[in-house]
């Protein structure tokens, strides 16, 4: 089994599928839909061996594939996964199935192209997580923008042009600086291998410049305050599937970048500038929490909530240095990083589910305004049950996955500084406030209008999609050990690595 180039299959199979779906055209939309679903399911099934065959005892890269790509520049087609990237790849293949399902009969305009875009994007995103060569990584990183750009631009809402341009320029601006940093390190090391960069000796001044370049790229992707404003616009204009992929996977690529590039390549700069990231993360949790509270548009609300939740990810990653610096605290560094990683996976499920819920409503009423709804539970009881469940998960209810990451990060933050924990823990109140207030206005109450009265409850397809996510959220909440186990060795190794100064 391990002899198979499994990562290559996971990258190229969906892309091939996308090409086939594209060729099938729109004359028989059901053919392209089933074809797309088949490829998505097949990709997911093939990604399971990654988990089953994964060796949890080592931090080394596994399922490695390496062959020359551009020999003149020492650029290789080099793939591999560790405990950090493997869960994210499975998250990608899993969410992709749901996204294909979510667009089933909803997308009537050029369905084959829509499905193809998502399949191609799936392959590219797996490529981002699996690439161990910086050039390859960069190609996938930028390629990811293209299908997303098309998805928002073609199937998006009325203001989609502004949103796509904003989205594209924002993220592209950040990544150009990353390219400069990568090229610089290539000249210093003579290699494009990311793992070589990890061991590359760099002075503090160099590290800070490289760190800032990476920060621009990753902070935009996460997104961190104050470079987050593209996200609400992109979400609002994107079709449901686009929002799901954006929230569930694309944002994670920013967080992944910090773990794969910033922290190990520039540990001293990260340590010097940790206050900056911690500050931005805490602002994201508190400030964005308040902003989310007053949103009138459901998608904007969830978009802001995503930013606040991603604040926990970056907080968990960067408090490491303060914990290590404290003499009276022995452990906690791994705790914070584990928390950040779990938060990424969990947010992948929960934000996807919430965007799908809003999509269900939007498909029926063509409005995302909270004020247009009210009393939905009277006509859509099953939907209401899902909505309340996911809102509670979003508010970090124990027993759901939303709790695990926040809990671990708050425990770790307490070790760094009492006040970090206090600010982070405000999410307990703010998260519940914006989630439940939305639920109160949308789901509960008397039926407010004839349009709401005419709503039909979720159909079997929608129930399957939301039900699958609900099960995932519950399992991860009740028993997170399997996920933690997979990541433990890699994160412990990373913490040890960044503890050693490069100066």
């Amino acid at each position: 089994m391990t002899d198979w180039p499994i990562l290559s299959i996971l990258i190229w199979l969906p892309i091939l599928g996308g090409a086939l779906v594209l060729m099938s055209g729109d004359r028989a939309p059901n053919v392209s839909r089933w074809l797309a679903l088949a490829f998505a399911v097949l990709t997911f099934v093939l990604s399971i061996p990654l988990y089953v065959g994964f060796d949890v005892s080592t931090a080394a890269m596994q399922f490695v594939e390496k062959s020359p790509w551009i020999p003149a520049f020492e650029v290789n087609y080099y793939l591999g996964v560790d405990g950090i990237s493997m869960p994210l790849i499975i998250l990608t293949t899993f969410i992709s199935i749901l996204v294909i399902g979510a667009g089933w009969e909803v997308i009537q305009y050029k369905p084959s192209q829509y499905m193809a875009a998502f399949l191609i994007m799936e392959g590219v995103m797996v490529g981002v997580f699996a690439a161990l060569d910086a050039m390859l990584f960069y190609v996938f990183w930028e390629a990811m923008l293209i299908p997303m750009f098309i998805i928002i631009g073609v199937w998006g809402g009325p203001n989609r042009v502004y949103a796509t341009i904003k989205f594209f320029l924002y993220t592209f601006l950040g990544s150009v600086f990353m390219l400069v940093a990568l090229v610089y390190m290539y000249f210093k090391s003579g290699s494009m291998e990311i793992l070589m960069f990890h061991d590359l000796k760099l002075g503090l001044q160099e590290q800070i410049l490289i760190f800032v370049a990476f920060l621009l790229a990753f902070a935009v992707k996460v997104p961190m305050w104050p470079v987050h404003t593209w996200l609400p616009d992109a979400h609002v204009e994107a079709p449901t599937g686009g929002s799901v992929i954006l929230a569930a996977i694309m944002l994670k690529i920013g967080g992944y970048g910090f773990l794969r590039f910033s922290l190990p390549i520039t540990p001293d700069a990260s340590s010097t500038l940790d206050w900056l990231i911690i500050g931005m993360s805490l602002i994201a949790v508190v400030y964005i929490g308040f902003v989310a509270l007053v949103q009138q548009d459901m998608k904007k609300l969830i978009a802001y909530s995503s930013i606040a939740h991603m604040g926990f990810v970056t907080l968990g990653f960067f408090i490491v240095f303060m914990i290590v610096a404290r003499e009276d605290v022995e452990t906690g560094a791994i705790l914070g990083m584990q928390g950040g990683m779990v938060q990424m996976v969990s947010h992948g499920f929960i934000s996807a589910a919430l965007f799908l819920c809003i999509g269900v409503l939007y498909d029926r009423l063509h409005s995302r305004q909270i004020a247009d709804y009210g009393g939905v539970v009277n006509v859509m009881p099953w939907f209401a049950a899902f909505m309340v469940f996911f809102a509670m998960s979003n508010a970090g209810l124990p027993g759901t996955s939303g709790f695990v990451g926040e809990f671990l990060v708050i425990l770790a933050a307490f070790r760094a500084d009492f006040w970090f924990a206090v600010l982070a823990a405000t999410t307990l109140i703010l998260g519940a406030a914006y989630s439940l207030w939305m639920v109160k206005r949308v789901v509960f109450g008397e039926v407010t209008s004839d349009k709401v009265a005419a709503l039909k409850d979720i159909n079997g397809r929608e129930a399957w999609i939301l039900g699958t996510l609900a099960v995932a959220v519950l399992i991860l909440g009740i028993w997170p050990a399997p996920l933690i186990e997979v990541m433990d060795a890699s994160i412990a190794n990373l913490v040890q690595h960044i503890g050693m100064s490069k100066l």
Binding site: F290, G332, L335, L411, A421, L436, G445, I484
Partner: protein, 647 residues
Amino acid sequence: MEAIFLTIVLAPLVGAIIAGLFGRQVGRAGAHRVTITGVGISCVLSLYVLWQYAFNNAPTYNASVYTWLVTDGLRFEIGFLVDRLTAMMISVVTFVSLMVHIYTIGYMHDEEGYERFFSYIALFTFSMLMLVMSNNFLQLFFGWEAVGLVSYLLIGFYFKRETAIFANMKAFLVNRVGDFGFLLGIAAIAMYFGTMDYKEAFAKAPEFAETTISIFGQTEWSLMTVICILLFIGAMGKSAQVPLHVWLPDSMEGPTPISALIHAATMVTAGIFMVARMSPLYELSETALTFILVIGATTAFFMGLIGIIQNDIKRVVAYSTLSQLGYMIAALGVSAYAAGLFHLMTHAFFKALLFLAAGSVIMGMHHDQDIRNMGGIRKYMPITHWTALLGSLALIGFPGFSGFFSKDAIIEAVHHSHIAGATYAYVLLVAGVFVTALYSFRMYFLVFHGQGPRDEHAKAHLHESPWVVTVPLILLAIPSVFIGYFTVGPMVFGDFFDEAITVAAIHDTLGHIDFHGAFGFVTHAFFTLPLYLALGGLALAWFIYTWKPGIAKVLSERLSWLHFILDKKYGFDDFNQVVFAKGSQLLGKGLWYAGDRQLIDGLAVNGSARSIGWLASVARWVQTGFLYHYAIAIILGLLGLLVWFVM
């Protein structure tokens, strides 16, 4: 034993899942049968466990069921700690829950969402059992929030009512404020003790008795005080203590059975249970104990006062619950944990009884809850009347009733305490006895005595409730009357809780009370003030509300300022609404408009887009398209370079 414990916890969960997910398939009768079976199994097994621990000296059980996760040297597990404290709690929880389940068949008979309701209360029972059986802080927090979730769902059960869905959100958010402190307390324990397990944490705690940490600048705080107060903030939310009590009166929007189960007998007592369970920690911080004592006594007295002027039958009982929770909390403050738990137990019976009796009256009155419209109901609903009378007597601490033993034990313990705030607490708690008797019997006389209901239609339809309602009332009335007499000796003054609870010698207030048997305790009471205050309150209520009904009106006019303050509930609700609810919305709007839209998007993002656009529009004038313009630029450029190189 492990199989028994697992069954106790999981049987209600199975019932909840079946009734919740397959409600349509199993139908109404199926839903109540399956949940009652589940809770019934739990109840029988819990009583068996209690028997084993109380009489057969079963050893303390402390083991994990499965590992939630392990990382960074911290083990997070799900497991059970069962000792006499747990055995008592699970017995009370499952017994009251079973009574409420049976009662609900009658109460919710004609309601929509019958299956959903049974699913929720069975789920609640599961969550509450997880909470009290936990052997670690993680599971405690899980149960803590899970009961909050079910409480949220049940307060908002009538989801069409605006007041109900406001109340449930308020309840959840206020509880989250408490949980905010609670979680930080758990984080502190994880950091300093390096464990989530109770027993390990308790063993480590004494090492940190003298440790101080700095939070605000240079001021040093005792670590144990910080931990204990943070944890207690959680208890203040769950057990509705001032100023986090505001959600409990509003929670009466939920159906009456859950008011009895969740908002009187079980969930709201979780805070008391938690502090008692953490007694090895609390004994290390006298500051925290004083804080607890003052909060408890304040709640006990001032919330009782509000009860006097309420006219909604459920709200009278709700304020009474707040006040009684205050008594329990005050007991914890003077380290009389056993007395607090004992009051928790007796209160669970008589307060569940009072709520269910109130529900029975509400059914009779066709869901009119205003006690001014009632009266003379004793003639129409004899069983409800007698059980309510017994419950009320237990509540005011009438000698010999179970509430008497528990309340007197608390007051005596506070009397013997010497920690800061003890005198303040003693005065309020003793005065509270009078208030309790006054509001309880005001309600009793208004509802059950006097002329019949004003409304002739209501009068014509008034009749006793069906047996599924009255049988639970009778079964709850029995312990409300007798359990105190038989258990006060071992539980409060004996060694029943010795293994579960730690009391430092200097805080041992209960040990200073002379106890010579339950009968001696009763006779002793005739020489103390509280008894006469209780009887005085009863007499005054009788005098005002049956003898001279005009007095009440005169009094409320004469004391209009007091009436105003009590009617406004000391202004807590208005303050929260203006400062927290409106304030955070304003802050959110401000940050959004000024921060996101003006500064970041307006100035930075679109601003830079505009300035690039402007730069381009200026720069394009250079691109004229005339050859001679370009030629002169080349010549000038060449000249410039030459000058630069030559110079």
